[in-house]
């Protein structure tokens, strides 16, 4: 069995609209078996009104297309609600897969969680 988990962590930062930035930490292997868990976590974020999302791949060892599909499925609904999915801290092996499919054109993929959070807060006058 692939081991995978995703955990939700509200961040202190807020964007210009005052919306809180939230971090999803991915751990383990994201494949066709575990993609459903990631999907459920993103759906819960949406349901709870969290749409300023940073997905941290610091502990993500592996990703297959099923995992990439989840990003694709959620980026539009999230953006429609004024939010975004920023991707941070990917290990080179995992980044390579995103890169092969041209995801850097569609997603903000940044090195550090901090940089991802800043993308939300920069230019904002309110919080952070």
């Amino acid at each position: 069995m692939s081991s995978f988990s995703v955990s939700f962590r509200p961040h202190d930062a807020r964007d210009a609209d005052g919306a809180r930035v939230c971090v999803l930490d991915l751990t383990g292997e994201l494949d066709a078996h575990t993609a459903g868990e990631f999907e459920a976590a993103l759906q819960k974020c949406l349901d709870d009104g969290h749409t300023r999302l940073v997905v941290s791949g610091r502990e993500l060892q592996y990703i297959s297309s099923a995992g990439l599909g989840v990003f694709m499925a959620f980026v539009e609904p999230v953006r429609e609600q004024g939010g975004d999915i920023k991707i941070a801290e990917l290990q080179p092996r995992v980044f390579n897969v995103f890169d092969l499919l041209g995801f850097p054109l569609l997603f903000d993929i940044v090195e550090t969680e901090e940089a991802a959070v800043t993308r939300f807060t920069e230019g904002s006058s309110s919080a952070a």
Partner: protein
């Protein structure tokens, strides 16, 4: 040098994919593939097995997927074989059509990835079985 059996049959469940990946890692090491080529092969085989499970057997867990390695002097080939549906034109639509029809577009990356990941990819239908053969050369590209 590790030794791992050259043939693996799994039930058509995605929970088996991790097992397949571990076996492929072992084969890649045995073949002396460079790390990047090994990881690429592992991912390509994962995608092929996931397609067999999800498209070939339509998610039914009672099918079998065979995964088999062949070592050659200059290359290693992994064949993924299933006996479920071959392409089902009624069910399978090119991404654009599905996109227009469903609005959502979350499929279709696996195949593109496979093409990018290995030096050679072959699709074959034979005697009711559908096969994908994924070949990585020992001194191949380093994507």
């Amino acid at each position: 040098m590790p030794r791992c059996a050259p043939h693996l049959t799994i039930p058509s469940r995605t929970s088996q994919l991790a097992r397949v990946r571990r076996r492929v890692a072992c084969w890649a090491e045995e073949a002396g593939l460079a790390e990047r080529a090994a990881q690429a092969l592992q991912l390509a085989v994962d995608e092929a097995c996931a397609n067999a499970i999800e498209h070939g057997y339509g998610g039914r867990p009672d099918g079998r997927v065979e995964v088999e390695v062949t070592f050659r002097e200059d290359a290693v080939t992994v064949v993924v074989r299933h006996r479920g549906d071959p392409y089902d034109p009624e069910r399978y639509q090119p991404p654009e059509l599905r996109g227009m029809l469903e609005g959502h577009r979350v499929h279709g990356y696996g195949l593109h990835l496979m093409h990018r990941l290995v030096d050679e990819i072959a699709f074959r239908r034979h005697d009711g079985a559908s096969e994908v053969a994924l070949t990585q050369r020992r001194n191949g590209r380093d994507t």
